[in-house]
């Protein structure tokens, strides 16, 4: 049974159909990369998986938690799904440790004594054990993004969604964030990520999903997708990015 199961997901913004029937199954421990042109619906798809966008039709199930277009309370889903954004989105008035501890404290009501240990554990995992009491604006972009990853992990999600987590970074800071993501993958974390880092996707992913005009146009293991693209659109896309 897949950990994440999407069946017939449809989503429009006004009259603009953005997701036009997405079926996707992701098993525990799998790493899936979504690729495709700008506007093909990659971010929208990720955002539906933790309920940041309501769907018009279809069923999303994550670890037995099922939702469809009628559901309005999406928090049960969000408890199972973590998300890391392109723009880090740290809470600026809280330190790195406080950013990590906030949701476990207020959502899970974790006891005070465990919270600090949790923050230390998570920030060490992303290589920031020495930055616990720094505020976001005292950290580099790469460090901020790693705090954001630690903040998501602290809720112990079953799956982590990453939307272009290195796109807002200076080139020299990309590697440190990718190294953290790679380590999560190696540790068995289930990951669904949107990325333009094709080399990274090729090395780390089990499955590559090419989206085109709101549909999954082609998908498969990275070697196959890269070396033997089946459709003209994927060939063009891969050619375009060199």
């Amino acid at each position: 049974m897949p950990l994440v199961d999407l069946i017939g997901i449809h989503k429009s913004f006004g009259t603009n159909p953005v997701l036009r029937g997405i079926d996707l199954s992701v098993h525990e421990g799998q790493v899936v990369a979504l690729i495709g042109r700008s506007g093909s619906g990659k971010s929208t798809l990720l955002r539906t998986i933790n309920g940041l966008e309501h769907i018009d039709d279809g069923v999303i199930s994550v670890d037995g938690e099922k939702i469809d277009a009628r559901d309005t309370d999406l928090r049960a889903l969000r408890l199972k799904v973590g998300m890391v954004f392109q723009q880090f989105n740290l809470f600026p008035h809280l330190t790195a440790a406080e950013n990590v501890m906030l949701a476990p404290k207020v959502v899970k009501k974790a006891p005070q004594a465990e919270l600090r240990a949790l923050a230390v554990e998570m920030l060490e995992k992303v290589g920031l054990g020495d930055r616990l009491d720094h505020y976001p604006d005292q950290l580099s972009g790469g460090q901020q993004q790693r705090v954001a990853i630690a903040r998501s992990l602290a809720m112990r999600p079953r799956v982590l969604l990453c939307d272009e987590v290195t796109s807002a970074l200076d080139p020299e800071l990309v590697a440190e964030v990718l190294a953290v993501v790679r380590k999560l993958a190696d540790d068995g974390m289930t990951l669904i990520m949107v990325t333009h880092e094709m080399r990274f996707a090729r090395e780390v992913c089990d499955q590559l999903v090419f989206m085109h005009q709101g549909r999954i146009h082609e998908s498969g293991p990275p070697e196959q997708v890269f070396s033997a693209p089946q459709t003209e659109e994927l060939r063009q896309f891969l050619g375009g990015i060199g």
Binding site: L52, R75, N89, L102, S152
Partner: protein, 223 residues
């Protein structure tokens, strides 16, 4: 003949002035605390897509911001008894200040709330926080920080506006001044002293609010 200043004419009225200033301070404390609390609640209500509450709050804000404070005060003190609600001078004055500051601070704090980047709210949502938890832990402090100078000014304005409450015989500072002036006919001296007292109160209040702001928004140092 030139006017002879005679500040000794105020002697014997010190207690009255002190009592008046004390009442002005009390009105300001009550009005400030409760008014800002209403402002926070109002900004929260307006930030939510709640069908009835948000428009009711919007209407409240518009009514208060587009009518004179004196009329609001008279309405509470002279108007409400018609409905069987009889308020004392202090109660009516304090309530008028709370209602007035509540409306202005709703609008001010709302601007702060709207300045919080959408991404931070989505990050909090993705961590399964409830809307109220997000408002309280993610939105409120940065929002207040952003508008703290404007909010502080509004509290000072309301403190100064409390002088209007002399009109319903709430015995605050301006009431005391009017009373003394009617006895010793020393308008210049009385209002000179009262002006200085308001000025001192304003400076003190601004200082206190700025210290409070520092305490609320201050960062602990790190190594």
């Amino acid at each position: 003949m030139a006017y002879q200043f005679d500040f000794s004419s105020l002697s014997g009225y010190g207690d009255l002035l002190a009592k008046g200033a004390g009442l002005t301070v009390s009105l300001t404390v009550v009005g400030g605390l409760a008014g800002v609390a209403i402002g926070i609640a109002g900004a929260w209500a307006r930030s939510r897509p709640v069908p009835v509450l948000a428009p009711v709050v919007a209407a409240y804000v518009e009514v208060i911001r587009n009518t004179p404070f004196l009329v609001q005060l008279f309405f509470l003190f002279f108007g409400l008894p018609a409905l069987g609600i009889k308020l004392g001078e202090f109660q009516a004055a304090a309530l008028a200040m709370v209602v007035n500051l509540g409306a202005y601070s709703t609008e001010i704090i709302r601007a702060g709330v709207q300045s919080i980047p959408r991404g931070q709210i989505e990050a909090a949502m993705s961590l399964a926080m409830t809307p109220l938890q997000i408002f309280r832990h993610v939105v409120l402090i940065p929002a207040l920080k952003k508008i703290w100078p404007a909010l502080s000014s509004q509290v000072v304005i309301v403190m100064l506006g409390s002088s209007v409450c002399s009109q319903i015989a709430a015995e605050e500072l301006t009431f005391a001044a009017n009373f003394i002036q009617s006895r010793n006919f020393r308008a210049f001296e009385v209002y000179f002293v009262v002006t200085a007292l308001y000025l001192a109160l304003s400076i003190l209040l601004r200082w206190l609010l700025s210290r409070l702001g520092q305490a609320l928004f201050e960062r602990r140092r790190h190594g």
